[in-house]
Symmetry: C3
Subunit: 321 residues, 3 copies
Amino acid sequence: MLRLGDIVDSLGGQLHGDRGAAIEGLAPLESAGPSQLSFLSNPRYQQQLAASRAGCVIVSPALQEAALARGAAIVADDPYLYYARVTQLWKARRAPAGAGGIHASAVVDPAAHVDPTATIGPLCVVERGARIGAGTVLKSRVTVAEDCIIGARCLLHPGVVIGADGFGFAPRQGEWEKIEQLGAVRIGDDVEIGANTCIDRGALADTLVEDGVKIDNLVQVGHNVRIGRHTAIAGCAGIAGSASIGAYCTIGGSAGILGHLTLADRVHVSSFSLVTRSILKPGHYTGVFPIDENAAWEKNAASLKQLHALRDRVRALEKKS
Amino acid sequence: MLRLGDIVDSLGGQLHGDRGAAIEGLAPLESAGPSQLSFLSNPRYQQQLAASRAGCVIVSPALQEAALARGAAIVADDPYLYYARVTQLWKARRAPAGAGGIHASAVVDPAAHVDPTATIGPLCVVERGARIGAGTVLKSRVTVAEDCIIGARCLLHPGVVIGADGFGFAPRQGEWEKIEQLGAVRIGDDVEIGANTCIDRGALADTLVEDGVKIDNLVQVGHNVRIGRHTAIAGCAGIAGSASIGAYCTIGGSAGILGHLTLADRVHVSSFSLVTRSILKPGHYTGVFPIDENAAWEKNAASLKQLHALRDRVRALEKKS
Amino acid sequence: MLRLGDIVDSLGGQLHGDRGAAIEGLAPLESAGPSQLSFLSNPRYQQQLAASRAGCVIVSPALQEAALARGAAIVADDPYLYYARVTQLWKARRAPAGAGGIHASAVVDPAAHVDPTATIGPLCVVERGARIGAGTVLKSRVTVAEDCIIGARCLLHPGVVIGADGFGFAPRQGEWEKIEQLGAVRIGDDVEIGANTCIDRGALADTLVEDGVKIDNLVQVGHNVRIGRHTAIAGCAGIAGSASIGAYCTIGGSAGILGHLTLADRVHVSSFSLVTRSILKPGHYTGVFPIDENAAWEKNAASLKQLHALRDRVRALEKKS
């Protein structure tokens, strides 16, 4: 339980309402009850505001009047960011961060270096030469392989694999000869990596993940990739080897980036889209086959296989006309 | 080894043949030998029936005559379902289900609740407040995080992660501020979850997987998703946050569903298709670029990037004509 | 550190330069310094050769003259293959292969058979009846389930799951009845399997991965798939049940192959392409929606949903003209 007064004392914002009112939890506008705190970040949902039973609502100055018409409110410049900070407050109350430590079931090589304030969860593996920075948390069943470096305040979710071999083979008469992967992975500060995501070690140089990068679950990051600072990558995306992604990019779910390409800063790739050439201009890029009822799709897909010919037919008609 | 008589005594069906005949295993029609049991569920493969060397074949009443012309048969209304039950009989003989228990190498928090009939396999992690229902089996290396609830008779394959943080961040001047994920995951009864699949905990409310849902390997289920009962999701699919999928749906392999969308009951999404709007009508939906020889694809893909212009050109021709 | 003379003594090739020169590492042409060895495998990058500060460069006979104009060189018929072998030499120096052994934290069933020269890393699980061949290495947190067989000299990266149940259910009035997966997985010699990749056990017969196959991270291989020898599969690909892939194929990243299809030998599937029919002719196949600026994509995608109608309109114009 938190009181509204405690919240604004911690996080700022302007409280209109009873400082002593008890808040038992956070909830979306439509389901929040009288002992819950909610927020309205998107003015499109303003209609839900009047109807909400929330005990208090976080709103922007523009919505202050509408909010006060229904009850208590905290006014903040960025209600969504304010909400994020309330979740942090909540989490800290419920589960105070430990002082670090290595779970007894983890396997940490004596020649690894784990900062004393880092937390290594159950059944993790940290190999020789690896370094885990201050305040970083490895949840359960994470592997950080040989010589890989994780910065400060990172969070690695269960099943993450940092530093498996990159996929490198030289062809030899149709067979494949292993190229040993002699580089490692270097991850900056404040990076979060989702469950079962894999970041491969470099072939010669290192794979690089810069400060503030956020990666979702089940993402594949190939060897020698560079991911620029504060870029976010959604689930199931795949980044092929030696791709270089700029800063402040967003990569949608299940998107892909072919190897050796460069993405400038502030490039946004839609879900399910495959980047096949370097993108040097910031912007929003998409390549997705639109979904349709199956029967309609079948007709259009069949026509698509003749599209080049159709274009020639139109050209012929134009010449005639 | 099972005798044909034992099988029909356990599962019903009408045996035409020697009750005492010994069956050493199950095999597909084309490879089954005289000591093996096979089945024919699809009448299209009836030709294979005559040629099969199987010791006995499970068939529908419609195919009884054809089956008896070649040898022993079990006649059942739904041969495929009957076959499924024979596999269960076989498995039960070969590896009797244990009476539950927690493997010595698993890490189970004292404040987790594991039903005494549940089985927690080697190197699993069950965090505080988690609940594992009656008869549920966690194979090796499964994580069930804090406060997540798994129902009865579920089967979680190796590497599954239940309850990692959802991918939630508020933007702050181009950087990302963590939204702590305060919800959990609630999974119903009779749910099966494939290897290395991830189901994230909710941001505020819980992520929900209803009774009888079957999820394949390497599937990503985002925070606050709801998956309706008896829906099946094939491998590598990705379901973004707050999507609500109805009951009795099927989601194909590597398919995707964007966040906050709703799918009605009995919606079937093809493999590799991305759902970009809510689908409120039951049916079969597809969006896949048809594969072709690379040279043909290149031409058609290039034309596709001019398709809108082509449409305008056709319009112009129509006006002229 | 290796001397140039040691390298050619081990691997052959023709050294032009000082046998005693010390090499401290390998690096790409553009970043290599005077104590590093580099290579030029693609004649397109010949311009980089003159500018490189590398202590020595591996080149083909055709580039010998250009290489010698700038300094020391090793001339080899296939510089990329030679480079692969130098990485192996380097790795062997740095981390001599162990003599095998089972890490104390691994859970190996007494009824599994692990060759004494195999290495079972930390927190792996090897179930009863499984067999691990000579010289094979399971890195950390690998599961090899009941009765699965891994050949000699294989390398399985962290989080790999071999032999989870295939995704098999019989429909029963809209619900799903489990088909127990009674087969196993058989993997040949010299196979490499990437982090968090899953290969399911067969329903009746076994799933087969032949000699020399290389599979990247986060790949899903369904039950009863067969992957022919020396085929390579890139990250995030999904192979549905009972697909049969020939030898010497390459499957691109995030590509898919539907169930029960056959691919001939030497079929190459591009990244992100879905194979929806059997491919019996060797060649290169693609099906990807070309990426574009989002606004342009939106227009073309909308037109695509009318493509079949557009084709009819062109036909009508042709009849008129």
